[in-house]
């Protein structure tokens, strides 16, 4: 066990999986010598060579499609798009091809493909480089969607994603790459679709994803001062979604706030709020509250961008409105 950044944890997961399975390879724009747009694939080109760490032309459709084709031809590709925003260019290859293959072919094929994409606001990259799009992918049967918050989760989930026989969309938050935490040196997996309780509490459940986990933990500390003990549940994957852990927590705390950076309207919180209302309404003492980004593109100017991303106060306020 040692202290590693989220970025290092991802890099280690890739390296270890490539070491233990020669069918695992990487493809994407500038993933080779350059080491990836944010540095996640650094050093892998030197270690594994250009046959296994492949720089592609700028052509997202072909990257996602080629990864899909290679996956159902027996390889385990890990494709990288520089920013999740570019998925628009290749969406057909993801949602009509990768996600549908197995079902359409009556279970004959598997598509063990992992698609890594950074998302999120915070670096002044403006509207076409800052979105959180997990709710798009949540609506596509056939995909799995991991969205890790900690370095520990990032490594274990990425290894699981690579070993999974389904296409896994792996969403990294670019503001998390520098966050560090304890990460085992050896290889390990985390079950895809298993939530983690990041903080125990009795008075309110805050379901938070990705970067919002840290915001929720900070909010929980603030709430503690007011005598409110918040439980912070990190689903770690939004598809499949660990409804069980969320329900258990709500049954204990009797109140729910969902926090994510994706736009609030029709965001992942809408699904979470809806199933809790369906399954556990009688346990709730108050309406479910959702915290998410406003319904507008991500602005460039720093004060606007900061205002756009939900903050600690937004979560504190949401909790206080029901507790």
């Amino acid at each position: 066990m040692s202290e590693k950044t989220y970025l290092q944890a991802l890099n280690e997961a890739l390296r270890q999986e490539m070491e233990q399975d020669e069918n695992v390879f990487i493809l994407g724009e500038d993933v080779g010598q350059f080491g990836g747009c944010f540095g996640v694939t650094q050093g892998l080109f030197d270690k594994f060579g250009e046959e296994r760490v492949i720089d592609t032309p700028i052509t997202e459709s072909a990257i996602v499609g080629a990864a899909t084709g290679a996956a159902f031809s027996g390889l385990r590709p890990v494709a990288e798009l520089m920013f999740v925003d570019f998925i628009g260019v290749s969406m057909d290859q993801l949602f009509n091809q990768a996600a549908k293959m197995r079902y359409m072919f009556g279970g004959k094929s598997t598509v063990p493909m992992t698609l890594r994409m950074p998302q999120g606001a915070g670096i002044g990259a403006a509207a076409q480089h800052s979105q959180c799009l997990e709710s798009w992918f949540m609506n596509i049967p056939g995909l799995k969607v991991a969205i890790p918050s900690t370095p520990y989760d990032a490594k274990g989930l990425l290894i699981s994603a690579i070993r999974d026989d389904n296409p896994v969309v792996f969403l990294e938050h670019k503001m998390l790459y520098g966050v560090s935490g304890e990460v085992p040196d050896e290889s390990y997996t985390i079950e895809i679709g298993k939530a983690d309780i990041k903080r125990e509490g009795s008075d309110v459940t805050i379901v938070a994803t990705s970067q919002m986990v840290y915001t929720a933990l900070a909010a929980a500390e603030k709430l503690k001062a007011d005598g409110i003990e918040a439980e912070v549940v990190d689903p770690r994957c939004v598809l499949p979604l660990d409804t069980e852990t969320i329900l258990e927590s709500v049954k204990k705390t009797h109140a729910l706030v969902v926090a994510h950076e994706a736009v609030r309207f029709a965001g992942p919180g809408a699904e979470i709020a809806a199933f809790v209302a369906e399954e556990a309404l009688e346990y709730l003492d108050a309406p479910v509250k959702r915290v998410g980004a406003p319904f507008c593109p991500v602005p460039f100017s720093p004060p606007l961008e900061q205002h756009y991303v939900p903050g600690v106060e937004d979560i504190v306020e949401a909790v206080k409105s029901i507790r």
């Binding site: 724009e29 319904f295 100017s301 606007l304």
Partner: protein, 319 residues
């Protein structure tokens, strides 16, 4: 040289404006004064300048993530651009867009674009609108060598040719898409060769020779205005800086950069203008001093301008 003194002087000014604008940004970015990404156009000034020099205000351009040069060459306001890059309320996009998204529809600037290959289809649409309205406006689509590999670019070339649209595809081949050299991303050496697949003229020009660019684009624009359809003009050039400011740029060798810097398009053009007496040394000095002042004024304007109020966050999502 059949061009008038006025045109040549304007071209010289534009190249210097782009150069000084970018050098200033390089300095400001290093000083931590500019948020977000900045992709500089240093070294490529002759392409935008030569290409836009043949356009009217009513003609249009679609631009890229490396758009400052295109915008300035099309007449973009230095102050409004600078303020936008600083994220100020007074900027071209009220601080909402930043360097990668500046647009000025009154000048036919359809926008810089953060999506590589995003501009091609938009340019097709603009050219379609010109044809639809029977205007004789032409659209120029700027795109990189990297962008030429996007499906959107190929789809645009095809559609423009099938529909004989008044469109000129201006390929800025600076040899790299971020760290990826052209030879690793495509088998062809000349991107202009791809024009053949769409049955349109494909021309290669020295992209560091503003007059060569001007001439090739003028010919393509003439064709487009005459209803003869699109062309692809490939301008071979080089970007001096890394892909973005902050890029350590370890993927290419110093000698390559040195060789290209020796082909700096500005002194080359300047020498020609002095030699054939279009401009005197004195005039050159004056032009440079004036533009330098213009840029300084723009920086001052940007710095004095207010940041947008948070109340503006939800403005302009819908019309």
């Amino acid at each position: 040289m059949a061009l008038s003194k006025k045109t040549l002087t304007q071209m010289y000014e534009t190249m210097n404006r782009i150069r000084m604008f970018e050098l200033k940004l390089q300095e400001l970015f290093a000083a931590g004064e500019i948020p977000g990404f900045v992709h500089l156009y240093l070294g490529e000034e002759a392409v935008a300048t030569g290409a836009c020099s043949v356009l009217t205000d009513a003609d249009m351009i679609s631009s890229t993530h490396r758009g400052h040069g295109h915008l300035l060459a099309k007449g973009g306001d230095v102050k409004l651009m600078m303020a936008e890059i600083f994220g100020r309320q007074t900027g071209y996009c009220k601080g909402k867009g930043g360097s990668m998204h500046i647009a000025d529809l009154n000048l036919g600037i359809l926008g810089a674009n953060g999506i590589v290959g995003g501009g091609g289809p938009l340019a097709v649409g603009a050219a379609l609108a010109s044809k639809y309205k029977h205007s004789d406006n032409v659209t120029l689509c700027f795109f990189g060598d990297g962008a030429s590999n996007q499906g959107t670019t190929q789809e645009s070339l095809n559609m423009a040719s099938a529909w004989k649209l008044p469109l000129v595809f201006v390929n800025e081949n600076n040899g790299y898409g971020i760290s990826c050299p052209q030879c690793k991303s495509m088998a062809v050496v000349d991107i202009a060769d791809r024009a053949a697949a769409y049955d349109m003229p494909g021309v290669v020009v020295d992209g560091n020779d503003v007059l060569a660019v001007q001439e090739a684009i003028a010919e393509a624009v003439k064709r487009a205005r005459n209803g003869e359809g699109p062309s692809l003009v490939e301008c071979k050039t080089y970007r001096w800086r890394g892909h973005f400011e902050g890029d350590a740029c370890t993927y290419r060798c110093d000698q390559e950069l040195k060789d290209w810097m020796e082909k700096d398009p500005i002194p080359r053009f300047e020498a020609k203008l002095l030699e054939n007496k279009t401009l005197t040394e004195k005039e050159v000095e004056k032009i440079k001093a004036r533009i330098s002042e213009e840029i300084d004024d723009a920086v001052a304007f940007a710095k004095e301008s207010p940041l947008p109020p948070v109340s503006a966050l939800m403005d302009d999502v819908y019309a």
